[in-house]
Symmetry: C3
Subunit: 160 residues, 3 copies
């Protein structure tokens, strides 16, 4: 069944239902990176702001000072930023792609490829696994997004 | 009145109208952070690029050089990045949530909680107000977004 | 022809078709910044993570170390972050704006102004062209987005 036009963004459309679920998974994963950053900041006692360190003692008993270059914190932050760079465009492009009535099989392939590759990307980045593991998971997700983007624009006849 | 399916993304749907207004408020607030960064860069004479400092004099009359670690500028930038991390997922998840036909009361509760907590978050971050004020405003906004995310995915039966 | 309500997000709506194409152009442009960052990292041998430098030699034949402050890499990254700050809100606000049934002429004006100004912004930032070129391209894009935001919220009667 192909759902067209105005009813594409609707729970009657199985493509849209699958999109919502995948979008929620990758967006919640991205949001959780904020909490993970906070956990690592506490573990490393590496806070970014003076009001965060106020009243806290460092390991030598002195007043804790803000730290902006802790490698463990910065790794989580780079992973988070990479999510913002890739997950947010995926959700936006995915939504536009859904409105162009792709087949359910093709849509599921794109959504599943992206979601799996980004979940793997986070694991690989945080462990970390040696390269080219991270480059590979990154590229797979990017390919899925670019494929949906070109498909959506083509369905619109590249009307500018 | 519950609006379902294809007509959810429509000005006929009061949930959608409320969503548009809240989304505009938090997105414009986020965009304004760029302008605020620029204002603070001029006040502190802390520009990031050589082409921004070209022809400008520092306080001693010498050629102004780029500065990447001014604490006032970096505070505004961290606040801006925190908005990107939270406001953009809110708008994406909120849009998906609207299509799942929540009750107007429940939707307004989520939208208002998020919008108020993020406006407060900015005030608290920029003043700054001592912790745990910022952590509290951050968590309230995050909870509103996560609640909408889980509600939307559940309405889709977690179809993956 | 003015398309209203539930059929606004549909390929039957020429405003929506034009929006999809412009959104794809600016989002793909933003995604490509990731690849450009990688190209410049290889050219400058300036990688962010120890697993990226493992087994690589620097110019003197020693073990390559992570570099977080290469000016060429950081310029591309600032340009990329500026895209995230502006392109993602444009697509979100543009989508809401489309649902409020703007005239095709007005919509095209906003979309084209934004897309052209952001493409120019990237060229100006990366060359770089002396100021105020970058400030001008930045402001034009921001104005287009703000105008759509206010228009969309007004169409919803600022319902909060």
């Amino acid at each position: 069944m192909v759902v067209t036009g105005s009813s594409a963004v609707s729970l009657d459309n199985p493509v849209f239902k699958a999109f919502v679920t995948h979008a929620v998974i990758v967006l919640v994963k991205t949001l959780v990176m904020s909490l993970l950053t906070t956990v690592v900041r506490f573990r490393e006692l590496a806070f970014a702001n003076p009001e965060d360190t106020a009243g806290r003692r460092d390991k030598d008993g002195g007043q804790l000072k803000p730290v902006l270059n802790n490698p463990h914190v910065e790794r989580v932050r780079r992973c988070h930023l990479n999510d913002l760079e890739n997950v947010l465009p995926f959700v936006l492009i995915g939504l536009l792609y859904v409105t162009t009535s792709p087949s359910l099989a093709s849509a599921l392939l794109h959504f599943r490829l992206f979601t799996c590759s980004r979940l793997l990307h986070t694991v690989v980045y945080l462990m970390p696994v040696p390269q080219p593991a991270r480059a590979l998971t990154f590229c797979l997700g990017l390919l899925a997004t670019l494929s949906m983007a070109l498909s959506a624009a083509a369905a619109c006849g590249w009307a500018v």
